[in-house]
Subunit: 315 residues, 2 copies
Amino acid sequence: MQKTKITKLFNIEFPIIQGGMVWVSGWKLAAAVSNNGGLGLIGAGSMKPDLLTEHILKCRKATDRPFGVNIPLLREDAADLVNTVIRENVKIVFTSAGHPGKFIDLFKINNITVVHVVSSLKFAHKAESVGCDAIVGEGVEAGGHNGLDELTTFSLIPQLINEIKIPVIAAGGIMNGQTILAALALGAEGVQIGTRFAVTKESSAHINYKNAVLNAKDNSTKLILKKLAMARVIKNEFSTQITEAEDNCADIDELKEILGEKREREGIFNGNLEEGMLEASQSSGIITNIPAVKELMKNLISEYSIALNNLKAAK
Amino acid sequence: MQKTKITKLFNIEFPIIQGGMVWVSGWKLAAAVSNNGGLGLIGAGSMKPDLLTEHILKCRKATDRPFGVNIPLLREDAADLVNTVIRENVKIVFTSAGHPGKFIDLFKINNITVVHVVSSLKFAHKAESVGCDAIVGEGVEAGGHNGLDELTTFSLIPQLINEIKIPVIAAGGIMNGQTILAALALGAEGVQIGTRFAVTKESSAHINYKNAVLNAKDNSTKLILKKLAMARVIKNEFSTQITEAEDNCADIDELKEILGEKREREGIFNGNLEEGMLEASQSSGIITNIPAVKELMKNLISEYSIALNNLKAAK
């Protein structure tokens, strides 16, 4: 697989980044991805600062290659997480869900490479103008939280490529070597992969969650909670309850009451398939196994080579 | 650009099909696409049988290359349109919006190549099992009517490739050579292009409509009428009215009353930008000119070659 601006930016072998995911990507998954030539990200979204410190230290023990931390900027204690990565000398940070300029000066003083996750041109321009080093353009097929404009990977990436000068990493629906090749064909310099990495041996998601993704079909996911914080989830009892309320024009307070608390933890980490929130990609139907990261990375790279050779060989 | 199962199926030079579009793709556009090495389709969706006959005859005068007709099967007089294409000896039919088996025996007796447009695996399996020769997998980024599962091009195509044996043509967000390359990287054997061809000199859409697409940004389109017949349109006064009603849980009768009649004609053909329904792709932001079909085809092919060479050259 080729070198790109992204392999150079992070000094990694393949332009493959493992997305930071709540309850899924601790040090174990991140270190495994980095050890196999990608960039692993610890997902700080489901961690308090102390736990994040622990994961960073363990990750550094488990790999001598580059890894990073994903920080959702809307977290009330985002500043504490930011201070944690600075104190622990992490040099790669992915930010999401919030204004990319919020901590950028602090990051830059500390020589941290900063990538912001965006869902539209407006946020991409913001990220570029405040000085981010790259962006992740995430299409609405991605699992978990998505932008309200519902731009798809196939629509978003070419529009970013046309207007944005910093490197673009494609996310949303990246599942195999063919989809990596397609993302690079669209002009992306790398890919960020979420759900596919959530269903690996090293992922800390509950086995019930992994099996739910394995069993998903093309129409198994749905966008819910557009009025609160839109997310793509596997349909279950919880999502049906929310959808029914939404179809009946429930207001934000009613939705908040149904949502309650800790639904992501309940679904992804505790494996409660009916009451939990099972964030997963629209392309989950492509996933048919629970490999170790080493095996998955090997497959991604060989599928990519085969797909590229097919394109080259065609007359 | 390479030969594929689709170039062979239709005996065309490039695996590029111009989607049949109401009020847009008459004989003039279809003939221009076929004359330049793609496959042009007359969109019968906005034609009565007599007018369709006229367009078929004119198209045959204007090109000696293969062309086809798109028939929306949900039309009340679909059988009349089917009889028209048979009587006029058209040998390529694309069907959409309805059960693919409805007229398949009649088509097959008359040696007609049949392609059905699908939005999910379920419909794809149906199309394959009744004997269609190929399918168009159309992602939700496409302009106009879309499937309720809202599967994106980037998610739908790889899932179709995994399960369907007949050739898959990708549609939804195909705008330039890079997106054609990405579609083929995903495993498609060809592409169907709608909105990009709607904004050409030979398209019969009103100049106001063409300019509205030219002015569209990444967030200019929206899915409306999910309860009636979901469609992607450029946001305007009409769509805002519908969206407000939908947000207030309007029932189907209320929506039908706001919708009224002939909104597509009003927007696309008459150029009424506020009251009309402006069906267009989520990727309209990529379109920056109104070329002749000849120039557009040339550009698609050269962009494709450059993008493929970039992939090959990368180390």
